[in-house]
Symmetry: C2
Subunit: 249 residues, 2 copies
């Protein structure tokens, strides 16, 4: 692995319930934080409905652009669970009941309970490897650079833990936060000037309008710890100077 | 407005901080629920980084497909706030300091404090109308079918309240929820059969794996109240029958 190798990812959230607002997504933030922690850069997220052509189009757009794609949702036994067949279609491969998935389900239920709809959960695209589901047995799968996971957060977390050690990772992006008790407009000019000089760092300003007045955060992100420390020191000096000026007024 | 007019929308969330996991998005779920309530169908969500070509490409893809596009984030005074210029670029129009936006800011600050970076918040694409920001004065704007709003939830909520009465809306989608104390695989076959007969309804099953055992929800969504009530009664009968069968075992 070279020092500057960049591994990228996208998330595809599949489900009408997120778009209707009925279910509030908890997976995007979880996966985002996880990826940052292990050194994978999340570059895009899409949420699409349970509609085959939408899922296939989004999958093909994302898997062509990023190192990895993580999907959540749509792998249960009901008629609205169509993710597996969409992945097969996107890759142009066949899909059929997979004996490994049947075995996994049989650890939790009797063979006579493995009805037609439950067998849907065992339909895995040709060439995919399974992702173990310790919560409810029905597996996710990996095909190419696409990881198909459950939408239920508890199951998704377990699947991601199983998947993470298999991922290639890049240099971790570290972030440093400087608190600023000044309005953004007061430091935006100085911050822009620092951001221009530290073009290898990504520097963002995140305002917060609370009842306690202005409590903004300036976040510096980068891969080079020394550069990050230097940039942070400059931002701290900027804020200290502006705060002193304001106090002297 | 005809009975079956469908008004659609997409959300474009702009911001590195969401993709890094540093900030957990709270806007998608809020807008989704709001749209459902007023009769607008949210069809897609994308999250992209603070990168001009990504924002422009996503905007152009979404505004061509949906009645409305709502963006959140990237309209503050700092160098990483580039949404306004990206919208101008996507529409191929010029962008300049807008006197209406300057006036709005001057209600909150003295003219001498309106520095170069704060004036960035007054740069509005040609032809746009402003969206009032009662929280921190810096306005959002509407250009064509795109509504540009702040990323800070409190400000976005106020902007959406200002925007909502101007939107064309369709027939509201109503949802009905049936609780099912059975595993999905037990009712998936019967539910599929109902879903096929009620093709005008969207029927989904949402599992939950808690410490209290299975507590699934079957959600029926549609625009025709009578049909919805009929579908709901069929689902309830299915679940009651299966629960009785299970109890008799």
């Amino acid at each position: 692995m070279t020092q500057h190798k960049t591994i990228t990812a996208a998330i595809l959230v599949i489900g009408d319930e997120i778009l209707s607002g009925r279910t509030k997504d908890q997976n995007i933030g979880y996966i985002a934080e996880y990826m940052t922690r292990i050194g994978v850069e999340l570059r895009e997220v899409r949420v699409v409905p349970d509609v085959e052509e939408e899922i296939v189009a989004a999958l093909n757009a994302l898997r062509a652009r990023f190192t990895y794609v993580f999907t959540t949702g749509g792998i249960g036994p009901t008629h609205d669970d169509i993710t597996a067949q969409c992945v097969a279609k996107a890759f142009g491969v066949s899909i059929d009941v997979d004996e490994r998935a049947v075995e996994a389900l049989l650890t939790r239920m009797k063979r006579e309970d493995l009805n037609e709809m439950r067998l849907r959960m065992c339909r895995i695209p040709a060439g995919a490897s399974l992702i173990d589901n310790p919560v409810s047995a029905a597996p996710g799968f990996r095909l190419g650079n696409v990881f198909v996971m459950a939408g239920v957060p508890r199951i998704m977390h377990a699947m991601l833990d199983n998947v993470a050690p298999t991922l290639e990772t890049g240099v971790k992006i570290i972030s440093e936060t400087v608190e600023a008790g000044l309005p953004e407009g007061a430091y935006a000019g100085g911050l822009k000037e620092i951001a221009e000089r530290y073009s290898e760092l990504s520097i963002g300003s995140y305002p917060s309008f609370g009842t306690q007045g202005v409590k903004n955060q300036i976040v510096l992100r980068g891969k080079d710890l020394a550069l990050l420390a230097q940039g942070r020191a400059e931002v701290e000096a900027l804020i200290a100077r502006l705060e002193a000026e304001r106090a002297a007024k």
